[in-house]
């Protein structure tokens, strides 16, 4: 009798499992469809797209749209392709991510292991930065960039992104270090290690997961940012997102959809790669500190 009921249970289990997989596959297809359309159409000549079948595979495969998007397409008035703007974005993102991550780690370290009077108020104020809509700070930021002479430069963009990333990076690191045993810091103090030695030798080596989380988060946000990029960039510091917009909105000549698709994929590629390479740490890191022990 118990064997029979077990049988039923197993059969029900298989059925439920099949249903779950079916639903998941359906969702995955649904989400992957736009990417499929972009990839397929970026590899077609323009007249194949004009025939109207967006979902069909290319009859004639070509990488010409990719080459064009990278180096020859018309961006605004210049036929430079996305290449220089891609480099702008890299030069903006790398220092901004590094700066905000390091400062966030230091903030988290101080807020958990070197507590001072009113530390929770300071942390609360920093948290507020996570909730401020960035449109509110556009004008003050522009004013500060103007006063410091950084308006329209990549340095200026790095500064703005680093500052507005601090709220999140501080939150991440504070919560992570909150669960970090304080006795380790005390042991290091007795061993004679200084403030920065403790940070570098004791805390940082144990911060791998949260560093990955912060870097992914910051990289994605800053790379994808359009608002600050379009507001504060000058002629020589336009980031990729703004350039992509200019590419798609160039109104001279025909709309080269295949080039636009290729450009959009190029713009999304770095964040995709970062996520694929280190994504498995992401969930782990987000969960760390949430559950003690």
């Amino acid at each position: 009798m118990s064997a029979a009921s077990q049988d039923v249970a197993t059969r029900n289990g298989i059925f439920a499992r099949a249903l779950i997989y079916a639903v998941l596959i359906l969702f995955a297809v649904y989400y992957l469809l736009p990417l499929y359309v972009m990839v397929v159409n970026s590899l077609k000549p323009l007249d194949e797209i004009r025939q109207g079948n967006m979902l069909a595979l290319p009859q004639q495969w070509t990488i010409a749209p990719w080459l064009s998007a990278w180096s020859t397409a018309q961006i605004g008035v210049q036929p430079t392709g996305l290449k220089p703007y891609f480099l702008n974005s890299v030069m903006m993102v790398v220092p901004a991510v590094a700066l905000s991550t390091i400062l966030g780690a230091l903030n988290g370290y101080v807020l958990t292991k070197w507590r001072f009077k009113g530390d929770n108020i300071v942390f609360g104020l920093m948290l507020l930065a996570c909730f401020i809509p960035f449109q509110i700070v556009l004008i003050p930021s522009a004013r500060i960039l103007g006063m410091t002479g950084l308006a329209g430069t990549i340095t200026g963009l790095v500064l703005i992104h680093a500052i507005y990333g601090l709220g999140f990076t501080t939150l991440f690191f504070r919560n992570y270090y909150e669960a970090f045993p304080t006795e380790l810091v005390r042991a290091a103090q007795i061993d004679g290690a200084s403030f920065f030695q403790i940070f570098r030798r004791i805390l940082l080596p144990s911060s791998g997961p949260i560093i990955v989380v912060t870097v992914i988060w910051q990289f994605t946000n800053i790379w994808n940012d359009f608002l600050f990029g379009s507001s504060f960039s000058g002629f020589n510091s336009i980031p990729l997102t703004v350039a992509l917009n200019n590419l798609v909105n160039s109104s001279t000549g025909v709309k080269e959809y295949n080039v636009h698709f290729a450009g959009a994929i190029l713009a999304a590629l770095p964040t995709l790669i970062v996520y694929i390479v280190s994504g498995r740490y992401f969930v782990r890191g987000l969960m760390a500190g949430a559950v003690k022990g």
Binding site: P181, E183, L184, R186, A187, A188, Q189, I190, D191, G192, A193, Q197, R201, I202, P205, S206
Partner: protein
Amino acid sequence: MSFLKISNLYKNYGQVEILKDINIEIDKGGFLVLVGPSGCGKSTLLNTIAGLEPITSGDIAINGNSVAGLHPSKRDIAMVFQSYALYPNMTVAGNIAFGMEIRGVPKDEREKAIKQVADILQIGHLLDRKPSQLSGGQRQRVAMGRALVRNPQVFLFDEPLSNLDAKLRVDMRTEIKRLHQRMKTTIVYVTHDQIEAMTLATKIAVLKDGLLQQFGTPAEIYNSPANMFVADFMGSPAMNLLSARLEGGEGGLNVVLDRPSDKPLALPIKMANGALGAYSGKEIIFGVRPEALTDPDGADRNAKSLAEGECLIEVVEPAGSDTFAVTKLGGKEVVARLRADAAIHAGQKTRLAFNLDKAVFFDPKSQLRIA
């Protein structure tokens, strides 16, 4: 001259007084154990000695020099933490050498010191491992190694054995004692386990609610507790503390204990001292440890003041080495400790011997010891 001297130490967190007027002195090579229940301030006191927490007022001096206000690394101390606090990213050797590395000790000297400490603690084969690959007892040894290698003036131990299982705890306790006898370094040791305190200490400080209850040798603390808290806290099973009356009788004072189903039990005290006389006719608390309450055959023959009385035994608990018997006196359960093979049965009346040399008397109001 005292080696470690804590004088008039106060510690506040905001409005809350954590430590109140602590005065402790120990000699060089002494083993001071701070003991008390959770939240009594013993760990805070240790942290103030380490310099990990500032003091509000008072002074701490090591070897005649005040260390109050000095950074922990400048106090010439080493500390073993409750969680061992081994640096997880470093090997055992790296953990032991970290302090020397920070101080810029040359590599060959560091290695010599590591080897020496590893030999003492027999952890030579573990030096290349990470802390996560060690068992609890091994981590404990490494934590001690990290402290030993500094060769400090004072060792501080913060409940170092509380994370070990019972058997290992006893082994490590012996090992710490052996280490202390060998190194002859001054040690301050925090624990809530009164057996650890008794076995290890040369001096015990009992704390409660931030107040020093009593400071003395283990024998003083055990035999002459300053108040009812110390009497109750130290010793296992705990001292029997019973409501009683002192009454004058022939040849001196009697301790009179009420019994639920019998006439009161009167125990004559032969060696009553003057302080007790003042309480004649008054209520007192009569304290007697289980081992001072035995079957007449097992009683201490050298005791000067021995009294016997018939008691109704309610429960018998054989524990192998001893037999514990529970009776009721003065409205409370009383535990007596008898020989393992004492002929005793629950529900029967049995003669018990009270060793009044070892008995103590407390004032019920102030809870302080009278005699």
